[in-house]
Symmetry: C2
Subunit: 232 residues, 2 copies
Amino acid sequence: MDVRDWQIVRSTPLFGAMSQDVAQSIIGTQPVRSYEKQTQLFQQGEPATCFFLVLDGWVKLYRSTPDGHEVIVGVFKRGETFAEAAIFLGGRYPVSAEVVTSARLLRVDGEILRRRIREQPDLALSMLASASAHLKLLVEQIEKIKILSAPQRIADFLVGLSPVRQGATIIELPYEKALIANRLGMKPESFSRALVKLRPLGISVDRDRVTVADVQLLVRFAEAVDREEEGF
Amino acid sequence: MDVRDWQIVRSTPLFGAMSQDVAQSIIGTQPVRSYEKQTQLFQQGEPATCFFLVLDGWVKLYRSTPDGHEVIVGVFKRGETFAEAAIFLGGRYPVSAEVVTSARLLRVDGEILRRRIREQPDLALSMLASASAHLKLLVEQIEKIKILSAPQRIADFLVGLSPVRQGATIIELPYEKALIANRLGMKPESFSRALVKLRPLGISVDRDRVTVADVQLLVRFAEAVDREEEGF
DNA sequence: CGCGGCGTTGATCTCTGTCAATACTTGTGG
DNA sequence: CCACAAGTATTGACAGAGATCAACGCCGCG
């Protein structure tokens, strides 16, 4: 784990709030491992022994239904932690996790963390903040699936990926389109078509490169919920 | 706060795990208040000073979009806590809360709680369990919205409301149908029609009374995702 | 009695899923 | 270097679920 990695660790709500040496004491002995694409990290229902921090690459969290359907409930990237809450929930993962690009992950043992929390109550506040962030994210995700159309969800997704808030830019799609589609709650075909519908807004796609004429346009489009002004 | 209230408090993941006297010391000094229907508890964006436990009645959490739309992200009933996560996240509520029936709520001050956590580390662990439980619930909600049809979501909702797991029962709809519809991610008209489609399964509705011939049937219906037997 | 809120029903439309066919990319082996 | 296969993306035709718009019925209330 080099300096760059350490910066990433300190940027998370979980490890950022605690003091340098406490963070060090928790993750100092933990391994950083590289994972191949499609590596299964854990399955839903398994005992939750540890949680993860993404140093590089992408990881998807999903649930499998009895008949083979798969629903993505989150995709995590560099600087994000996941499954840290599961450690406290009956000790079982409520979702499955799979690496979707080759990735480097920091793996943190749950038992260590639990022990440290007993010694250092302030840690719990960091944990709670982190869990809250995820809660907020999920709440937003529900909101978006409920009220935004497919093209709007894509626009929102692209905005979230864009390095700038206005003007032109080029965005690299971070992983397969089928995966993005699932994450946004639609089928790959719908994803494809929805992208076409964004063309009039200055979006063009070539392979995994998306060219955006004006991000602002996307923002407005994603927020436009009908425009019926009921005074209420 | 009487004996019954105390039982409710002890049944929550948050307060159930901690010892009697600790729970007592935290909430003993906190007020139980009665609220009229439509009382606004807090608005999204406000500083989060406290969280709530429902002793009686129903409370909805929702987000207002810039153009006046309203999305329900959760409805909480007796025995459930809400907004406790917000206290640790930047100190602001991510959603608004409104009482939808006359209700009795326990209001817990965040500052007091934070102090107690520092004194009593185990307290933190049980709180984390609570946050995790909500997280899991949200994940499940996403899954349901994505893959269940409208009638299935209603079936699932009714099952969750039913006091029994099998046989016949009568369920009282806890709040307005338009509100339920929103919570389940559909329009009131669709809700109405979907209820009709459940008639063949032994469901009949009169006002806010739902008569269920066999809950088991509903369970199976809600779980049936297609039933196409692809050997896979 | 008339009014307003809520719920239901009907007709129609739009969006998205499904199924199928067709590129396009990438990798493999001859 | 090319042929072929497998995985991935796009496009088309179609069907179904749910949204929308509108009308109507029901009930409580002034």
